[in-house]
Protein backbone atom coordinates (compact mmCIF):
# COMPACT_ATOMS: atom_id res chain seq x y z
CA UNK A 1 0.00 0.00 0.00
CA UNK A 2 1.30 3.43 -0.78
CA UNK A 3 -1.04 6.32 -0.14
CA UNK A 4 0.95 9.48 0.36
CA UNK A 5 -0.55 12.59 1.84
CA UNK A 6 1.08 16.00 2.23
CA UNK A 7 -0.57 18.32 4.74
CA UNK A 8 0.30 22.04 4.75
CA UNK A 9 3.86 21.18 3.88
CA UNK A 10 6.30 24.10 3.61
CA UNK A 11 9.97 24.40 2.92
CA UNK A 12 12.31 27.34 3.37
CA UNK A 13 16.00 27.60 2.66
CA UNK A 14 17.14 30.34 5.01
CA UNK A 15 14.71 33.22 4.53
CA UNK A 16 13.58 32.04 1.12
CA UNK A 17 10.35 30.07 1.12
CA UNK A 18 10.56 27.69 -1.83
CA UNK A 19 7.36 25.84 -1.00
CA UNK A 20 4.46 27.77 0.54
CA UNK A 21 1.86 25.66 2.38
CA UNK A 22 0.94 22.81 0.08
CA UNK A 23 -1.62 20.00 0.33
CA UNK A 24 -1.63 16.99 -1.93
CA UNK A 25 -2.82 13.40 -1.83
CA UNK A 26 -1.44 10.64 -3.99
CA UNK A 27 -3.64 7.57 -3.93
CA UNK A 28 -2.34 4.03 -3.67
CA UNK A 29 -1.25 2.69 -7.06
CA UNK A 30 -1.32 6.04 -8.77
CA UNK A 31 1.35 7.21 -11.20
CA UNK A 32 1.75 10.86 -10.21
CA UNK A 33 4.02 13.18 -12.12
CA UNK A 34 5.32 16.46 -10.70
CA UNK A 35 6.03 18.72 -13.62
CA UNK A 36 7.12 22.32 -13.90
CA UNK A 37 9.95 24.54 -15.07
CA UNK A 38 13.33 24.23 -13.37
CA UNK A 39 13.42 25.75 -9.92
CA UNK A 40 9.70 25.23 -9.31
CA UNK A 41 10.33 23.06 -6.24
CA UNK A 42 9.31 19.73 -7.72
CA UNK A 43 12.55 17.96 -6.82
CA UNK A 44 12.53 19.51 -3.35
CA UNK A 45 9.01 18.22 -2.84
CA UNK A 46 10.05 14.71 -3.89
CA UNK A 47 13.09 14.81 -1.63
CA UNK A 48 10.84 15.87 1.24
CA UNK A 49 8.64 12.85 0.62
CA UNK A 50 11.77 10.70 0.50
CA UNK A 51 13.00 12.14 3.78
CA UNK A 52 16.22 13.49 2.27
CA UNK A 53 15.05 17.02 2.96
CA UNK A 54 13.48 18.20 6.24
CA UNK A 55 10.12 19.91 6.27
CA UNK A 56 10.02 23.45 7.58
CA UNK A 57 6.46 22.80 8.74
CA UNK A 58 3.54 20.53 7.93
CA UNK A 59 3.15 16.78 7.88
CA UNK A 60 3.72 13.86 5.56
CA UNK A 61 1.61 10.74 5.94
CA UNK A 62 2.52 7.48 4.30
CA UNK A 63 -0.19 4.80 4.51
CA UNK A 64 -1.94 6.67 7.28
CA UNK A 65 1.07 6.94 9.58
CA UNK A 66 2.83 10.22 10.09
CA UNK A 67 6.29 9.92 8.56
CA UNK A 68 7.45 13.51 8.94
CA UNK A 69 10.37 12.64 11.19
CA UNK A 70 10.96 9.06 10.06
CA UNK A 71 14.42 8.64 8.49
CA UNK A 72 14.49 7.89 4.73
CA UNK A 73 15.38 4.24 5.13
CA UNK A 74 12.34 3.50 7.28
CA UNK A 75 9.73 5.13 5.07
CA UNK A 76 9.53 2.08 2.81
CA UNK A 77 10.11 4.18 -0.29
CA UNK A 78 12.63 3.55 -3.06
CA UNK A 79 14.21 6.28 -5.12
CA UNK A 80 15.75 6.41 -8.58
CA UNK A 81 18.10 9.35 -9.06
CA UNK A 82 18.83 11.39 -12.18
CA UNK A 83 22.51 10.53 -11.87
CA UNK A 84 21.59 6.84 -11.25
CA UNK A 85 23.66 7.06 -8.02
CA UNK A 86 24.89 3.48 -8.34
CA UNK A 87 27.65 2.33 -6.01
CA UNK A 88 30.67 2.44 -8.35
CA UNK A 89 32.70 -0.04 -6.29
CA UNK A 90 30.05 -2.77 -6.41
CA UNK A 91 29.01 -5.09 -9.22
CA UNK A 92 25.51 -4.91 -10.65
CA UNK A 93 24.56 -7.91 -8.50
CA UNK A 94 25.82 -6.22 -5.33
CA UNK A 95 24.20 -2.91 -6.28
CA UNK A 96 20.78 -4.47 -6.72
CA UNK A 97 21.15 -6.65 -3.63
CA UNK A 98 22.48 -3.85 -1.43
CA UNK A 99 19.18 -2.73 0.15
CA UNK A 100 18.36 -6.36 0.91
CA UNK A 101 21.74 -6.93 2.50
CA UNK A 102 21.17 -3.83 4.62
CA UNK A 103 17.83 -5.32 5.65
CA UNK A 104 19.79 -8.40 6.83
CA UNK A 105 17.99 -10.74 4.45
CA UNK A 106 19.39 -14.26 3.96
CA UNK A 107 21.91 -14.51 1.13
CA UNK A 108 19.93 -17.20 -0.74
CA UNK A 109 16.84 -15.01 -0.77
CA UNK A 110 18.87 -11.98 -1.86
CA UNK A 111 20.30 -13.93 -4.80
CA UNK A 112 16.89 -15.12 -5.83
CA UNK A 113 15.34 -11.67 -5.69
CA UNK A 114 18.25 -10.05 -7.50
CA UNK A 115 17.99 -12.59 -10.28
CA UNK A 116 14.24 -12.14 -10.61
CA UNK A 117 14.69 -8.38 -10.89
CA UNK A 118 17.62 -8.71 -13.27
CA UNK A 119 15.64 -11.04 -15.52
CA UNK A 120 12.73 -8.65 -15.75
CA UNK A 121 15.09 -5.79 -16.59
CA UNK A 122 17.26 -7.72 -19.07
CA UNK A 123 20.31 -7.39 -16.88
CA UNK A 124 21.20 -11.09 -16.42
CA UNK A 125 24.28 -10.82 -18.67
CA UNK A 126 25.66 -7.86 -16.78
CA UNK A 127 25.35 -9.02 -13.17
CA UNK A 128 29.09 -9.25 -12.60
CA UNK A 129 30.00 -5.96 -14.23
CA UNK A 130 30.70 -2.70 -12.46
CA UNK A 131 28.54 0.36 -13.25
CA UNK A 132 31.42 2.00 -15.14
CA UNK A 133 31.23 -0.77 -17.74
CA UNK A 134 27.55 -0.20 -18.50
CA UNK A 135 25.77 2.15 -20.88
CA UNK A 136 23.51 4.91 -19.58
CA UNK A 137 20.35 2.90 -20.22
CA UNK A 138 21.75 -0.16 -18.47
CA UNK A 139 22.81 1.93 -15.49
CA UNK A 140 19.33 3.34 -15.22
CA UNK A 141 17.89 -0.18 -15.31
CA UNK A 142 20.23 -1.20 -12.48
CA UNK A 143 19.00 1.79 -10.48
CA UNK A 144 15.42 0.67 -11.13
CA UNK A 145 16.37 -2.90 -10.18
CA UNK A 146 17.79 -1.68 -6.90
CA UNK A 147 14.44 0.02 -6.25
CA UNK A 148 12.27 -2.95 -7.30
CA UNK A 149 13.88 -5.61 -5.09
CA UNK A 150 12.81 -3.82 -1.95
CA UNK A 151 9.14 -4.05 -2.91
CA UNK A 152 8.63 -0.50 -1.68
CA UNK A 153 5.36 1.17 -0.79
CA UNK A 154 6.09 3.73 -3.49
CA UNK A 155 8.74 4.51 -6.06
CA UNK A 156 10.18 7.99 -6.32
CA UNK A 157 11.79 9.00 -9.62
CA UNK A 158 13.84 12.19 -9.79
CA UNK A 159 14.17 13.10 -13.49
CA UNK A 160 15.43 9.59 -14.21
CA UNK A 161 15.61 9.95 -17.97
CA UNK A 162 17.29 13.34 -18.25
CA UNK A 163 20.76 11.90 -18.83
CA UNK A 164 19.69 9.52 -21.59
CA UNK A 165 19.65 10.25 -25.31
CA UNK A 166 16.31 10.86 -27.00
CA UNK A 167 15.80 7.36 -28.45
CA UNK A 168 16.66 5.62 -25.20
CA UNK A 169 14.44 7.99 -23.28
CA UNK A 170 11.38 6.89 -25.26
CA UNK A 171 12.26 3.23 -24.63
CA UNK A 172 12.80 3.70 -20.90
CA UNK A 173 9.58 5.69 -20.67
CA UNK A 174 7.70 2.67 -21.94
CA UNK A 175 9.59 0.34 -19.62
CA UNK A 176 8.72 2.44 -16.58
CA UNK A 177 5.12 2.63 -17.77
CA UNK A 178 4.98 -1.15 -18.11
CA UNK A 179 6.61 -1.58 -14.73
CA UNK A 180 3.81 0.46 -13.20
CA UNK A 181 1.16 -1.59 -15.00
CA UNK A 182 2.76 -4.78 -13.74
CA UNK A 183 3.44 -3.80 -10.13
CA UNK A 184 0.51 -1.41 -9.60
CA UNK A 185 2.66 0.34 -6.98
CA UNK A 186 2.42 4.06 -6.31
CA UNK A 187 4.96 5.99 -8.33
CA UNK A 188 5.91 9.64 -8.04
CA UNK A 189 7.86 10.94 -10.95
CA UNK A 190 9.53 14.33 -11.27
CA UNK A 191 10.26 15.81 -14.67
CA UNK A 192 10.47 19.12 -16.47
CA UNK A 193 9.44 17.42 -19.69
CA UNK A 194 5.70 17.74 -20.26
CA UNK A 195 5.77 14.93 -22.83
CA UNK A 196 6.98 12.51 -20.16
CA UNK A 197 4.28 13.81 -17.86
CA UNK A 198 1.52 13.44 -20.45
CA UNK A 199 2.54 9.95 -21.57
CA UNK A 200 3.15 8.31 -18.21
CA UNK A 201 0.92 9.89 -15.59
CA UNK A 202 -2.50 9.06 -14.17
CA UNK A 203 -2.25 12.29 -12.28
CA UNK A 204 -0.20 15.32 -13.22
CA UNK A 205 0.73 17.93 -10.64
CA UNK A 206 1.81 21.16 -12.33
CA UNK A 207 4.02 23.29 -10.11
CA UNK A 208 5.27 26.82 -10.40
CA UNK A 209 7.38 28.54 -7.74
CA UNK A 210 6.40 25.89 -5.18
CA UNK A 211 2.69 26.38 -5.77
CA UNK A 212 0.43 23.73 -7.29
CA UNK A 213 -1.11 25.31 -10.36
CA UNK A 214 -3.33 22.35 -11.23
CA UNK A 215 -3.78 18.67 -10.46
CA UNK A 216 -5.51 16.40 -12.92
CA UNK A 217 -5.33 13.67 -15.50
CA UNK A 218 -3.30 14.40 -18.63
CA UNK A 219 -6.39 14.97 -20.76
CA UNK A 220 -7.97 17.15 -18.07
CA UNK A 221 -4.98 19.40 -18.17
CA UNK A 222 -4.94 19.43 -21.94
CA UNK A 223 -8.62 20.18 -22.40
CA UNK A 224 -9.36 22.24 -19.32
CA UNK A 225 -6.24 24.08 -18.15
CA UNK A 226 -7.15 26.17 -15.09
CA UNK A 227 -4.91 29.07 -16.00
CA UNK A 228 -2.63 30.47 -18.66
CA UNK A 229 0.48 28.93 -17.11
CA UNK A 230 -0.86 25.37 -17.29
CA UNK A 231 -2.29 26.03 -20.74
CA UNK A 232 1.11 27.18 -21.96
CA UNK A 233 3.06 24.46 -20.21
CA UNK A 234 1.04 21.42 -21.27
CA UNK A 235 0.93 20.62 -24.97
CA UNK A 236 3.57 20.72 -27.67
CA UNK A 237 4.03 22.93 -29.58
CA UNK A 238 2.94 25.54 -27.06
CA UNK A 239 -0.51 27.09 -27.07
CA UNK A 240 -0.82 30.45 -28.89
CA UNK A 241 -2.06 33.32 -26.76
CA UNK A 242 -3.91 36.28 -28.24
CA UNK A 243 -4.80 39.47 -26.37
CA UNK A 244 -6.45 42.71 -27.37
CA UNK A 245 -9.53 43.21 -29.56
CA UNK A 246 -9.48 39.63 -30.91
CA UNK A 247 -9.74 38.33 -27.35
CA UNK A 248 -12.40 40.85 -26.39
CA UNK A 249 -14.56 39.53 -29.20
CA UNK A 250 -14.78 36.33 -27.15
CA UNK A 251 -15.36 38.22 -23.92
CA UNK A 252 -11.92 37.44 -22.46
CA UNK A 253 -8.69 39.27 -21.67
CA UNK A 254 -6.66 36.53 -23.30
CA UNK A 255 -7.63 33.65 -25.53
CA UNK A 256 -5.55 30.55 -26.14
CA UNK A 257 -5.60 28.39 -29.25
CA UNK A 258 -3.59 25.20 -29.56
CA UNK A 259 -1.57 24.84 -32.78
CA UNK A 260 -3.56 21.73 -33.69
CA UNK A 261 -6.87 23.58 -33.36
CA UNK A 262 -6.29 26.08 -36.16
CA UNK A 263 -7.46 25.65 -39.75
CA UNK A 264 -5.01 26.68 -42.44
CA UNK A 265 -5.80 27.95 -45.92
CA UNK A 266 -3.74 29.58 -48.66
CA UNK A 267 -6.67 31.67 -49.96
CA UNK A 268 -9.02 32.77 -47.16
CA UNK A 269 -9.45 32.82 -43.37
CA UNK A 270 -9.76 34.93 -40.27
CA UNK A 271 -6.16 36.01 -39.80
CA UNK A 272 -3.76 36.71 -42.66
CA UNK A 273 -0.05 36.14 -42.05
CA UNK A 274 3.32 35.32 -43.55
CA UNK A 275 5.08 31.97 -43.16
CA UNK A 276 8.33 32.17 -41.19
CA UNK A 277 9.77 28.75 -40.55
CA UNK A 278 7.99 25.54 -41.54
CA UNK A 279 9.21 22.49 -39.63
CA UNK A 280 8.46 19.33 -41.60
CA UNK A 281 8.41 16.38 -39.21
CA UNK A 282 6.96 13.94 -41.73
CA UNK A 283 3.71 13.12 -39.99
CA UNK A 284 3.10 16.75 -39.05
CA UNK A 285 4.28 20.16 -40.11
CA UNK A 286 4.63 23.01 -37.65
CA UNK A 287 4.23 26.37 -39.35
CA UNK A 288 5.37 29.50 -37.52
CA UNK A 289 3.37 32.42 -38.85
CA UNK A 290 4.38 36.09 -38.51
CA UNK A 291 2.57 39.38 -39.11
CA UNK A 292 -0.90 38.10 -38.25
CA UNK A 293 -1.65 41.27 -36.33
CA UNK A 294 -3.03 39.29 -33.35
CA UNK A 295 0.16 37.92 -31.83
CA UNK A 296 3.85 38.19 -32.59
CA UNK A 297 4.07 34.57 -33.62
CA UNK A 298 1.35 32.01 -34.17
CA UNK A 299 2.25 28.36 -34.46
CA UNK A 300 -0.02 25.92 -36.24
CA UNK A 301 0.14 22.19 -36.62
CA UNK A 302 -1.04 20.70 -39.88
CA UNK A 303 -0.72 17.37 -41.63
CA UNK A 304 2.69 16.47 -42.95
CA UNK A 305 2.36 16.92 -46.69
CA UNK A 306 1.38 20.58 -46.89
CA UNK A 307 3.54 22.51 -49.34
CA UNK A 308 4.44 25.87 -47.78
CA UNK A 309 7.69 27.74 -47.82
CA UNK A 310 9.23 30.76 -46.16
CA UNK A 311 7.48 34.01 -47.12
CA UNK A 312 4.21 32.49 -48.37
CA UNK A 313 0.98 34.26 -47.45
CA UNK A 314 -1.23 32.07 -45.29
CA UNK A 315 -4.69 32.38 -43.67
CA UNK A 316 -5.49 30.98 -40.21
CA UNK A 317 -8.90 30.27 -38.67
CA UNK A 318 -9.13 29.05 -35.06
CA UNK A 319 -11.74 26.38 -34.24
CA UNK A 320 -14.22 28.35 -32.17
CA UNK A 321 -15.19 25.47 -29.84
CA UNK A 322 -11.51 24.86 -28.99
CA UNK A 323 -10.73 28.38 -27.85
CA UNK A 324 -9.62 28.70 -24.20
CA UNK A 325 -10.63 31.95 -22.51
CA UNK A 326 -8.76 33.59 -19.63
CA UNK A 327 -9.46 36.66 -17.51
CA UNK A 328 -7.02 39.47 -16.65
CA UNK A 329 -5.54 37.35 -13.85
CA UNK A 330 -4.89 34.54 -16.31
CA UNK A 331 -7.57 32.32 -14.78
CA UNK A 332 -9.89 30.22 -16.92
CA UNK A 333 -13.28 31.77 -17.70
Amino acid sequence: MGRIQLKSVTKSFGDVQVIPPLDLTIEDGEFAVFVGPSGCGKSTLLRMIAGLEDLTSGEIEIDGTIATHVPPAQRGLAMVFQSYALYPHMTVRKNIGFPLRMAKMAQAEINQRVETAATSLNLMDYLDRKPADLSGGQRQRVAIGRAIVREPAAFLFDEPLSNLDAALRVGMRLEIGELHERLQTTMIYVTHDQVEAMTMANKIVVLRAGVIEQVGSPLDLYHRPQNEFVAGFIGSPKMNFVTGPEAEKHGAATIGIRPEHTEVSMSEGMWKGRVGVAEHLGSDTFIHVHDTGVAELVTVRVSGDIAVKHGDTIYLTPQVDQIHKFDTQGLRL
Partner: protein
Amino acid sequence: MAIVAKSSRFSKFGRPVLAWGVGLMFFFPIFWMMLTSFKTDADAVKPEHLIWFTPTFENYLNMTENYDYWRFARNSVITAVLATAFTLCVGIPCAYAMAFNPSRSTKDVLMWMLSTKMLPAAAVLYPMTFITKSAGLFDTHFLIILVLSLINLPIVVWMLFTYFKEIPKDIIEAGQMDGVNTWGEIKEILIPLAWGGIASTALLCFIFCWNEAYWTVRLTTTDAATLSKLIEGNRAPEGLFFGRLSAVSAAAVGPIVILGWFCQKQLVQGLTFGAVK
Protein backbone atom coordinates in the same frame (compact mmCIF):
# COMPACT_ATOMS: atom_id res chain seq x y z
CA MET B 1 45.18 26.49 -42.23
CA ALA B 2 44.01 25.67 -38.76
CA ILE B 3 45.86 27.37 -35.97
CA VAL B 4 47.33 24.98 -33.47
CA ALA B 5 49.29 25.65 -30.31
CA LYS B 6 53.01 25.03 -30.71
CA SER B 7 55.09 23.82 -27.82
CA SER B 8 57.69 26.37 -26.88
CA ARG B 9 61.40 25.66 -26.65
CA PHE B 10 61.05 26.03 -22.87
CA SER B 11 58.61 23.17 -22.53
CA LYS B 12 60.83 20.96 -24.69
CA PHE B 13 64.23 21.56 -23.07
CA GLY B 14 63.92 24.08 -20.25
CA ARG B 15 61.29 22.27 -18.26
CA PRO B 16 63.13 18.92 -17.94
CA VAL B 17 66.35 20.71 -17.01
CA LEU B 18 64.52 22.76 -14.40
CA ALA B 19 62.76 19.67 -13.05
CA TRP B 20 66.01 17.74 -12.73
CA GLY B 21 67.68 20.76 -11.15
CA VAL B 22 65.01 21.09 -8.48
CA GLY B 23 64.96 17.33 -7.94
CA LEU B 24 68.72 17.17 -7.40
CA MET B 25 68.59 20.17 -5.11
CA PHE B 26 66.09 18.40 -2.86
CA PHE B 27 67.93 15.10 -3.02
CA PHE B 28 71.37 16.54 -2.29
CA PRO B 29 71.05 16.83 1.52
CA ILE B 30 69.95 13.21 1.75
CA PHE B 31 72.78 12.15 -0.53
CA TRP B 32 75.30 14.14 1.51
CA MET B 33 73.96 12.72 4.76
CA MET B 34 74.26 9.18 3.43
CA LEU B 35 77.80 9.91 2.22
CA THR B 36 78.89 11.42 5.52
CA SER B 37 77.38 8.55 7.50
CA PHE B 38 80.08 6.27 6.02
CA LYS B 39 82.93 8.57 7.08
CA THR B 40 84.65 8.56 10.43
CA ASP B 41 84.00 11.62 12.58
CA ALA B 42 87.54 12.76 11.80
CA ASP B 43 87.16 12.32 8.03
CA ALA B 44 83.80 14.09 8.03
CA VAL B 45 85.33 17.49 8.73
CA LYS B 46 88.44 17.16 6.51
CA PRO B 47 88.13 18.99 3.18
CA GLU B 48 90.46 16.52 1.44
CA HIS B 49 88.03 13.69 2.26
CA LEU B 50 85.03 15.52 0.84
CA ILE B 51 84.41 12.93 -1.87
CA TRP B 52 87.30 10.47 -1.61
CA PHE B 53 87.51 8.60 1.66
CA THR B 54 87.63 5.06 3.00
CA PRO B 55 84.03 4.04 3.79
CA THR B 56 83.35 2.59 7.22
CA PHE B 57 80.34 1.01 8.94
CA GLU B 58 81.68 2.04 12.29
CA ASN B 59 78.98 4.70 12.87
CA TYR B 60 76.14 2.29 12.19
CA LEU B 61 77.58 -0.46 14.36
CA ASN B 62 78.25 2.04 17.09
CA MET B 63 74.66 3.23 16.87
CA THR B 64 73.02 -0.16 17.35
CA GLU B 65 75.52 -1.28 20.00
CA ASN B 66 75.77 1.85 22.13
CA TYR B 67 72.61 3.85 21.58
CA ASP B 68 69.88 1.22 21.52
CA TYR B 69 68.71 2.29 18.06
CA TRP B 70 65.98 -0.36 17.97
CA ARG B 71 64.25 0.95 21.05
CA PHE B 72 63.96 4.40 19.51
CA ALA B 73 62.86 2.89 16.20
CA ARG B 74 60.21 0.79 17.96
CA ASN B 75 58.89 3.88 19.75
CA SER B 76 58.75 5.76 16.44
CA VAL B 77 56.78 2.95 14.82
CA ILE B 78 54.38 2.56 17.74
CA THR B 79 53.65 6.27 18.11
CA ALA B 80 53.41 7.03 14.38
CA VAL B 81 51.17 4.02 13.60
CA LEU B 82 48.83 4.51 16.55
CA ALA B 83 48.68 8.29 16.12
CA THR B 84 47.82 7.85 12.42
CA ALA B 85 45.16 5.27 13.26
CA PHE B 86 43.65 7.44 15.96
CA THR B 87 43.70 10.54 13.73
CA LEU B 88 41.85 8.66 10.99
CA CYS B 89 39.31 7.24 13.44
CA VAL B 90 38.44 10.77 14.52
CA GLY B 91 39.08 12.48 11.19
CA ILE B 92 36.95 10.26 8.93
CA PRO B 93 33.64 10.73 10.79
CA CYS B 94 34.44 14.40 11.26
CA ALA B 95 35.17 15.04 7.58
CA TYR B 96 32.16 12.91 6.63
CA ALA B 97 29.83 15.03 8.72
CA MET B 98 31.21 18.26 7.33
CA ALA B 99 31.20 17.08 3.71
CA PHE B 100 27.70 15.60 3.61
CA ASN B 101 25.76 17.34 6.37
CA PRO B 102 27.31 20.78 6.41
CA SER B 103 25.85 23.44 8.67
CA ARG B 104 26.20 27.16 8.27
CA SER B 105 29.35 27.19 10.35
CA THR B 106 31.15 24.30 8.65
CA LYS B 107 33.43 26.58 6.66
CA ASP B 108 34.26 28.56 9.81
CA VAL B 109 35.03 25.38 11.72
CA LEU B 110 37.38 24.28 8.95
CA MET B 111 39.15 27.63 9.02
CA TRP B 112 39.36 27.52 12.78
CA MET B 113 40.89 24.06 12.68
CA LEU B 114 43.51 25.29 10.25
CA SER B 115 44.18 28.36 12.37
CA THR B 116 45.40 26.12 15.21
CA LYS B 117 48.33 25.27 12.93
CA MET B 118 49.26 28.95 12.94
CA LEU B 119 50.03 28.96 16.65
CA PRO B 120 53.78 28.66 17.22
CA ALA B 121 54.45 25.49 19.17
CA ALA B 122 56.91 27.34 21.39
CA ALA B 123 54.05 29.45 22.72
CA VAL B 124 52.56 26.48 24.56
CA LEU B 125 55.80 24.72 25.47
CA TYR B 126 55.75 25.66 29.17
CA PRO B 127 52.08 24.92 29.83
CA MET B 128 52.41 21.64 27.95
CA THR B 129 55.48 20.61 29.91
CA PHE B 130 53.98 21.48 33.30
CA ILE B 131 50.59 19.97 32.60
CA THR B 132 51.97 16.70 31.26
CA LYS B 133 54.46 16.41 34.11
CA SER B 134 51.88 17.05 36.81
CA ALA B 135 49.43 14.67 35.11
CA GLY B 136 52.11 11.99 35.11
CA LEU B 137 51.98 11.68 31.34
CA PHE B 138 55.47 12.96 30.62
CA ASP B 139 57.56 10.54 28.53
CA THR B 140 54.69 8.12 27.90
CA HIS B 141 53.60 6.59 24.60
CA PHE B 142 50.08 7.74 25.35
CA LEU B 143 51.13 11.38 25.51
CA ILE B 144 53.17 11.26 22.31
CA ILE B 145 50.37 9.50 20.43
CA LEU B 146 47.89 12.09 21.68
CA VAL B 147 50.12 15.03 20.79
CA LEU B 148 50.97 13.69 17.33
CA SER B 149 47.28 13.02 16.66
CA LEU B 150 46.17 16.47 17.70
CA ILE B 151 48.91 18.17 15.71
CA ASN B 152 47.92 16.35 12.53
CA LEU B 153 44.16 16.25 12.98
CA PRO B 154 43.46 19.60 11.25
CA ILE B 155 45.40 18.76 8.13
CA VAL B 156 43.93 15.23 8.03
CA VAL B 157 40.38 16.53 8.34
CA TRP B 158 41.06 19.08 5.60
CA MET B 159 42.45 16.49 3.25
CA LEU B 160 39.69 13.96 3.90
CA PHE B 161 37.07 16.70 3.54
CA THR B 162 38.42 17.57 0.09
CA TYR B 163 38.37 13.92 -0.98
CA PHE B 164 34.91 13.28 0.41
CA LYS B 165 33.59 16.37 -1.36
CA GLU B 166 34.37 14.65 -4.65
CA ILE B 167 31.93 11.84 -3.91
CA PRO B 168 28.53 12.68 -5.41
CA LYS B 169 26.00 13.37 -2.68
CA ASP B 170 23.46 11.30 -4.62
CA ILE B 171 25.37 8.13 -3.83
CA ILE B 172 25.27 8.83 -0.11
CA GLU B 173 21.56 9.65 -0.38
CA ALA B 174 20.94 6.47 -2.35
CA GLY B 175 22.53 4.68 0.57
CA GLN B 176 20.18 6.42 2.99
CA MET B 177 17.21 5.35 0.88
CA ASP B 178 18.57 1.81 0.78
CA GLY B 179 18.47 1.57 4.53
CA VAL B 180 22.04 2.26 5.58
CA ASN B 181 22.68 3.88 8.96
CA THR B 182 25.42 6.46 9.48
CA TRP B 183 28.10 3.92 10.35
CA GLY B 184 27.03 1.83 7.37
CA GLU B 185 27.36 4.81 5.06
CA ILE B 186 30.93 5.32 6.23
CA LYS B 187 31.84 1.65 6.10
CA GLU B 188 29.97 0.48 3.01
CA ILE B 189 30.08 3.54 0.78
CA LEU B 190 32.42 6.28 1.93
CA ILE B 191 35.55 4.30 2.78
CA PRO B 192 35.50 2.09 -0.34
CA LEU B 193 34.90 5.10 -2.59
CA ALA B 194 37.48 7.38 -0.99
CA TRP B 195 40.01 4.60 -0.42
CA GLY B 196 42.75 6.25 -2.49
CA GLY B 197 42.34 9.56 -0.72
CA ILE B 198 42.24 7.96 2.72
CA ALA B 199 45.41 5.98 1.94
CA SER B 200 47.36 9.03 0.83
CA THR B 201 46.10 11.01 3.82
CA ALA B 202 47.19 8.20 6.15
CA LEU B 203 50.58 8.05 4.48
CA LEU B 204 51.18 11.77 4.83
CA CYS B 205 50.00 11.74 8.41
CA PHE B 206 52.35 8.85 9.16
CA ILE B 207 55.29 10.76 7.64
CA PHE B 208 54.46 13.88 9.62
CA CYS B 209 54.26 11.82 12.83
CA TRP B 210 57.51 10.06 12.10
CA ASN B 211 59.38 13.27 11.44
CA GLU B 212 57.87 15.33 14.23
CA ALA B 213 60.70 16.60 16.44
CA TYR B 214 59.61 19.62 18.45
CA TRP B 215 57.32 17.81 20.90
CA THR B 216 58.86 14.34 20.77
CA VAL B 217 62.22 15.81 21.79
CA ARG B 218 60.79 17.98 24.56
CA LEU B 219 58.16 15.72 26.06
CA THR B 220 60.23 12.54 26.31
CA THR B 221 63.38 11.40 28.01
CA THR B 222 63.82 7.65 27.48
CA ASP B 223 60.66 5.51 27.66
CA ALA B 224 58.74 7.06 24.77
CA ALA B 225 61.69 8.68 22.98
CA THR B 226 61.52 8.41 19.20
CA LEU B 227 64.20 8.55 16.53
CA SER B 228 64.02 12.36 16.54
CA LYS B 229 65.21 12.23 20.12
CA LEU B 230 68.05 9.92 19.12
CA ILE B 231 69.23 12.41 16.50
CA GLU B 232 68.92 15.22 19.00
CA GLY B 233 70.98 13.21 21.50
CA ASN B 234 73.84 12.90 19.02
CA ARG B 235 74.02 16.59 18.34
CA ALA B 236 77.20 17.77 20.02
CA PRO B 237 77.46 21.45 20.89
CA GLU B 238 80.97 21.67 19.47
CA GLY B 239 79.78 20.52 16.05
CA LEU B 240 81.85 17.35 16.20
CA PHE B 241 80.75 13.77 15.46
CA PHE B 242 79.28 14.57 12.06
CA GLY B 243 79.75 11.01 10.92
CA ARG B 244 77.87 9.62 13.87
CA LEU B 245 75.11 12.21 13.57
CA SER B 246 74.71 11.48 9.86
CA ALA B 247 74.44 7.75 10.48
CA VAL B 248 71.75 8.26 13.10
CA SER B 249 69.87 10.64 10.82
CA ALA B 250 70.14 8.28 7.88
CA ALA B 251 68.82 5.41 9.98
CA ALA B 252 65.97 7.61 11.15
CA VAL B 253 64.82 8.87 7.77
CA GLY B 254 65.69 5.66 5.90
CA PRO B 255 62.45 3.79 6.60
CA ILE B 256 60.30 6.77 5.72
CA VAL B 257 62.21 7.51 2.52
CA ILE B 258 61.79 3.90 1.40
CA LEU B 259 58.08 3.97 2.29
CA GLY B 260 57.68 7.23 0.41
CA TRP B 261 59.49 5.85 -2.61
CA PHE B 262 57.06 2.94 -2.89
CA CYS B 263 54.01 5.14 -2.40
CA GLN B 264 55.02 8.03 -4.67
CA LYS B 265 51.75 7.99 -6.56
CA GLN B 266 49.55 8.24 -3.46
CA LEU B 267 51.82 10.91 -2.01
CA VAL B 268 51.63 13.15 -5.05
CA GLN B 269 47.87 12.72 -5.03
CA GLY B 270 47.75 13.55 -1.34
CA LEU B 271 49.93 16.63 -1.62
CA THR B 272 47.83 18.09 -4.40
CA PHE B 273 44.79 17.70 -2.13
CA GLY B 274 42.76 15.69 -4.57
CA ALA B 275 43.17 18.15 -7.41
CA VAL B 276 44.70 15.42 -9.56
CA LYS B 277 42.48 12.45 -10.13
